[in-house]
Each structure stands twice: as C-alpha cells, then as structure tokens.
C-alpha cells in the first residue's frame, strides 16, 4: 500500500476512528495488525520475514539484557548482527555479489557459471533491519533496557507510517512512546495534518511532475543536448529530495496524529555550506545511524587525520551500498566520502582566502552553497544513472556545452512547470527559516484553513496522479 493511493485513503479513514476508540492492549493489537495489513497489501509472503526478524531480535534483546557474562553477550550481539545482515544481504545483495564475482572471475580467465536467483527485494528491508539492529546494539551497550512486551516490540518494528521508507526510528526514542495511550489531541491533529498535506504536495506535485523529464533524459542521455542534461540532473536532485522528504513528512505527520513524535529527517539540505552539514540535513535518521553505529565505533575522528579519512570513506561507501546493490551507488558513496575528505583538507585554505580578499559573508556562503549543490548533483548522476557508461555520457555531454539555448529544450511546458515548482519550493523553504509556520497553524484557524486549502487545491490542479511509487521503496 502506498500513501498516494485511494486504497490508503480508505485504509486510514477506517484506521483512525477505530484507533482512537481503542485503549491499551487492544489498540496495540489493532495497530500491529493494521501495520501487517499495510505491508502485506504489497506482498503478504514477506510478512514472515519481518515476523522472523522481530521474534529473533526480541529474544536476543531480552537475552542480552539478562546475561551478565560479557563473552556470551558478545556472542548474542554477533549472532543478531550476522542474522540481520545475512537476511539483508541475501535479499538485497545476493545477485549483485554473484554477478560481480562472475564478472571478476570471467575477466581473469576462469570459467565459472553464473549463479542467479530471481530474488524479489522485500520493500523496506533496509529500513526495518537497521531499526531492529539499533535496538539490539543499544541493549548490548546498555543504553536501553530490553522491551518485555512482545506486542509492543513487534509494533515498534512494523509501525506502518515509517515501515517501508523510514525515518529509521531508534528504540530509545520510539519504544517508550508506546507505553502511554495517546488521546485525540487537537494540536497534534493540526500539526500532523499540515505536515501530511505538505508531504503530499512535495511528492505528488513537485517530485512526480519532475519525474517524466528526468526519466526521459536518464533513459537515453546520448540523445540530449547539454542544456537538457543539466536540467535533467537538477530536476532529479529536486525529484529525489521531494519524493523522499515528502514521504518522511507524511510518515512523521501520520505518527504525530497518532500521538507519536518522530525526529526530523530532512532539514533544507540544499542550503548546506559543507558536506558535513549536508549529511546533518539529508536523510538524518540514516546518517545519524551510520554515525552512531559505524563511524564512531570505527574510531570516528579520535585517532588522527588519516584514520578519520578512512572512517569517513568507509562510512560513506557503506552508506552507498545501503541504497542498493549496484556499483553506481557505491561510487556515489565514494564521491561523498571524497568530498568530505577534500573539504577537511581545503576548508582552512578557503577561510584564509575569504579573509584575505574580505569577501562578504553572504557571498562566501553563497559560493559554498552553490559548490556543495553542484558537487551533490554530480554524485546524483551516478546515483540515478543505470550504468557507469550512462553517467559518463551525461558528464561528457554536459561538458561539451552544445546547443545551449532554449529552443533545444525537449519539452518546454514540462520544463517550465518543473522550474516553477522548484522555485516555489525554494521560496517556501527560505520563508520557513524566517516564519514559524507550525506556530501560525496552531494559533490562527484562518491561516490553517487557507494554507491547507491552497495546498490541497494545488495538488488537484498541479499534481501528477500516475500511481507512482516512492523512489526510496527500492532501497
């Protein structure tokens, strides 16, 4: 079931009143069953996989809590990691590694037969696996206590608003919220509804309107001029942002209506002045997960510059691999690792140049924002392209700068609409840094009704209703 479908509209219209009528355990059972129905609507066969991971991590979590012997605790956590990562690797990476080994051995003259299984990727596996892993790791570190109520734990893993595409919520933040019954709260409804409507606007209006141009250009990049390719890449950067942050907004808004608080997942990432800042604003729940469970355990920045660079690169490479089983994703991670290392090396020099030339702050900040954005777009090319050859074609053809005029554009109506929507989004985001819209929504009913009406009517008038999936479902 996807949020942008009539099925979901029916589902949520039935779910909400029943949810608020129930209390205690019956509400928990109902939420759990509804979450499994939500997931099973896509493919019921994979419900067993979530149920299995849930049972194992629930059992291991409790064993970790009870066990005092450090050696045994280590075995438990290793078992949990191996099991979760094996499931993830099998479903997500089996064909990738099988193909890669086959190509490697073939290229050096060994005659091996390819081993290919038709494995379907269970939607959301990367999200719920990471969520589940953080739970057992936190218990191992004795940061949290194990959950004793199985139903509560199972609902934490399968909670439908964030099950398939995050945000990845930590047990320490989320599980305690299940302990209280959340009453219907007018303020939560206002803020949650507002965020859901904004999420739908980002997804249906912006992301899905940009999608046809992006799909057309990335499907055969060799056929397009430099100008079109640049537009295709810029549009993709906003398509993926609005698609994913739109989903996060809907998930966070839904959870808020139901009485839960999720952390923010995106915070104006394209206004970042450095890559370090970018990663504290983009997919925050994943980047903070990687920071806490990978980068810091690897040593973080505590063991000198060279180790810091190694740790950064490893974290970004694994971040790339998390997105998908393709070398282009790994290269995307490599580029972000490289950018962060280069930034640490050149940052002080840039500061000195700015001081020496007395460049005003808004100009130096503008240069940094633009540089980070352009380099992010270069990395997006590898993320979106289906092969390295396609990505190289795009970069080479952009650098040629041929036919750089308006008449060379593929579809000026689509492109004009896309440019208008991106401008609208950026203006709204800039204004949101100055005005607290949430506060206005709460305090002024006129603002609330007017703004929601404008957004809903804009969705009707400008939205693309093509039943499209969210991009991050594939990860």
């Amino acid at each position: 079931m996807v949020f942008n479908s009539v099925t979901f509209l029916i589902f949520i219209s039935i779910f909400l009143p029943i949810y608020f009528l129930l209390r205690g355990n019956s509400r928990l059972v109902f939420t759990f069953l509804a979450s499994y129905l939500f997931y099973g609507w896509w493919d019921w066969r994979f419900l067993g996989l979530i149920a299995f991971a849930t049972c194992v991590d629930f059992f291991l979590g409790n064993s970790l809590e009870k066990e005092q012997d450090d050696k045994k605790r280590k075995w438990y956590i290793v078992f949990s990691m191996v099991l979760n990562l094996t499931l993830l690797s099998f479903f997500k990476y089996f064909n990738f590694f099988s193909d890669s080994f086959y190509q490697l051995f073939s290229s050096i003259g060994f005659d091996v037969s390819p081993l290919t299984l038709r494995i379907i990727l269970p939607i959301g596996i990367s999200f719920y696996t990471f969520q589940s892993m953080s739970y057992t790791i936190d218990i191992y570190r004795r940061d949290i206590h194990a959950e004793k109520n199985f139903l509560r734990f199972a609902t934490f893993i399968s909670f439908f608003p964030q099950l398939v595409a995050g945000p990845i919520v930590r047990a320490r933040d989320f599980l305690p919220q299940f302990k209280n019954d959340h009453n219907l709260n007018p303020d939560r409804i206002i803020l949650g509804f507002g965020q859901i409507v904004i999420g739908f606007f980002k997804k249906i209006v912006v992301a899905d309107s940009l999608a046809p141009v992006v799909d057309q250009i990335f499907s055969s990049p060799a056929n397009f001029t430099s100008f079109n390719l640049i537009i295709g890449v810029v549009f993709y950067s906003f398509q993926i942002y609005c698609d994913f942050s739109g989903y996060s907004d809907i998930a966070i808004g839904l959870a808020r209506v139901l009485g839960f608080d999720f952390p923010r997942n995106f915070n104006l990432p394209y206004f970042s002045k450095s890559f370090r800042e970018f990663w504290s604003r983009w997919h925050i729940s994943l980047s903070s997960w990687l920071r806490d469970y990978l980068y810091i355990p690897l040593g973080g920045n505590r063991r000198g510059k060279l180790f810091t660079y190694r740790n950064l690169m490893l974290t970004m490479l694994i971040g790339g691999l998390w997105h998908g089983a393709n070398w282009t994703f790994i290269f995307w991670g490599f580029l972000h690792g490289f950018y962060q290392i280069a930034e640490r090396l050149t940052g002080p020099l840039y500061g000195k140049i700015v001081d020496f030339l007395r460049i005003p702050k808004f100009i130096s900040d503008g240069i940094l924002i633009l540089t980070v954005y352009i380099l992010t777009c270069v990395a997006w090319i590898y993320f979106r392209a289906t092969s390295f050859a396609d990505a190289s074609t795009i970069i080479n053809n952009i650098l040629v700068l041929d036919n750089f005029n308006l008449s060379s554009l593929v579809n000026i109506t689509w492109i004009g609409k896309g440019a208008f929507l991106i401008s609208l989004l950026l203006i709204a985001e800039i204004i949101s840094t100055k005005i607290d819209f949430a506060d206005l929504m709460l305090k002024s009913p006129i603002f609330r009704v007017t703004s929601c009406t404008v957004i809903i009517l804009s969705i009707a008038l400008l939205g693309a209703f093509a039943d499209s999936q969210f991009i991050y479902f594939q990860f």
Binding site: P186, I189, D402, V449, C452, I456, L461, F465
Partner: protein, 288 residues
C-alpha cells in the same frame, strides 16, 4: 468539539473553492487562442482541416495562409492518437459548416492515454471526449467528478494558458537536427511502421463519413529525415494496408525532402523545412 470545527470548515472551503475555481478556469480556457479552445468556442470555422500528431504541426499556418486563400484550422497536437483525433474532428463537424477538405497525416498510430486524459477539461463540452476518457481511464473520470479543478490539471491546459493572449498558429520546431543525431543514424535499427484494428476502424469511420458528406479527404505521410525514412522496413505494405481499409490513396511524402538542415530531428521538419514542404503541397495541388 469547538477545537475540531476547522476540519468540516476546511472540507467546505476546499469544496466551494474547487467548484468556483473550476468555473473560472473554464471561462479562461474558452477565452484562450489555443486550437482546442477555439474549436469549442465556435471560432474554428475553416475550409481546410489538418489533423496529425506532432508531425502535423508542420502544416504551419502562416505559410499555409501565404500559399492559399482558403481558411484553415489545424487540430494537430504532440502524440495525438487517431481515436482522439476522430473525436475532435467529429466535434468540429457537429458544430460547424462542413469543410471542403480534410488533410490527415497518417502516422497518428498509437493510443496516447495520457493525452486523452489531458483533454478532460473539455469533457463537459464534448460527450465524445467524456466517453473516451471513461473508456481509456475510468479512474481519471472518477477523479474529475470529485474535483473540478483536477480537470484543468495537465499539459493541454497549461498550453492553453500559454496561448491565452497570443495565437498558437506559430507553434513549430525551430531548431536544426544536431550533428550528434545525424552521426547516430548509422546505428539505427530498421523501423517497422505499424497500425492496429482500432486505428483502421477509426480511419474507416472518418473516410466513410467524408465520402457520404462529399468532403475531400487527403491521407498523407509527412517527410521524415531522409536517412531515417530509408530505414523503413515495410513502408509500401503499410501504405497499401491503409489504402485498402480507407479506400483512399495515400500521398507519400516520407522521403520528399532531402536537405538535412530542414529537419529538427528524425521525425519533424523545422520551420524552414515546413516552408519548403507547404510549397511542395501547393505545387502538387494537395492544398489549394
């Protein structure tokens, strides 16, 4: 409960705004100089009608007007399929005096569901479009019943707003085909031209109507990029199939223009190419 009163108010405001917005956009739509706005606003009476997909846009009105004294109206649109073209044509024939001639560019093969859905803003004005949308996409039809603003969601409406205060007669590709595209032509695989039963059925309905009402119908293939046209596998059988079904001769101009600079890409003449082509049609007596 007072704290929740904004929810029914919001629904009411959204509903009223949607209906009022729909009415206003309808007025705006009919004011436009866009071809289909003119068609449904009684401003399209002409002697010659051109119908085609994007390849039909090369019947560039300023050049046609300078070549002949008769008035003309062009129904062509990017990706216009024949089933939708037929509905538009019959809407014209119901509203206006019969034309002297209809020139139909026959490469309108395919079923562009998206374009058909895009015509939803005319569903109140055209029972033909209404039933076509119900057929092609019942979901779109249902959405249109829920929201009237949704009817104006799409490229066709955006174009009609673009032409609100200016003529769309000058809509044509200006660019020249890129050297990269010319170089790539060597690697293209042979092209198979196609049609299906639905296409032939629609063509037969149009040709039967024209015969019955003494309207001259001309079936034509507009020029393709010369090296592309020579890549067709089945041009003659394709043409003979269409001639048999319609009972009309097909005027084949697919390879009529050899100068590469007259093309915007493999399928479309550019503005300069259009001028040469219109002159050729005039010389051959196709338009007069």
């Amino acid at each position: 409960m007072r704290k929740y009163i904004w929810i029914p108010v919001l629904f009411l405001v959204v509903f009223i705004s949607d209906r009022v917005g729909g009415l206003l956009l309808n007025k705006l739509l009919l004011k436009s100089n866009f071809r289909y706005s003119k068609l449904y606003n009684d401003k399209a009476q002409s002697d010659i009608l051109f119908i085609g997909n994007s390849r039909g846009l090369v019947f560039y009105k300023p050049f046609v007007d300078s070549a002949i004294t008769s008035s003309s109206f062009n129904f062509s649109y990017n990706g216009l399929p024949l089933n939708l073209g037929k509905v538009l044509l019959f809407d014209y024939l119901k509203k206006y005096n019969k034309p002297k001639k209809i020139i139909l560019e026959i490469s309108m093969y395919g079923a562009d569901k998206e374009l058909t859905n895009n015509m939803k803003m005319f569903m109140d004005l055209s029972p033909g479009i209404d039933s076509l949308i119900k057929n092609v996409s019942p979901k779109t039809s249902n959405y249109c019943a829920v929201s009237h603003l949704y009817r104006y969601n799409g490229e066709v409406f955006e174009r009609s707003m673009f032409y609100l205060n200016k003529s769309d007669d000058t809509w044509i590709l200006q660019k020249k085909i890129s050297q990269r595209a010319i170089d790539k032509i060597q690697n293209l695989k042979p092209v198979t031209l196609a049609y299906d039963d639905n296409y032939l059925e629609n063509l037969t309905i149009i040709s039967t109507y024209c015969k019955k009402n003494s309207i001259e119908l001309i079936l034509i293939i507009n020029p393709y990029f010369p090296e592309y046209a020579s890549n067709f596998k089945n041009l003659s059988t394709w043409i003979s199939g269409i001639e048999t079904a319609s009972g009309y001769k097909v005027h084949d101009y697919s390879n009529a223009i050899k100068d590469q600079s007259f093309f915007a890409d493999y399928y479309h003449l550019n503005k300069n190419g259009s001028k040469v082509f219109i002159n050729l049609l005039y010389k051959d007596g196709i338009i007069n």
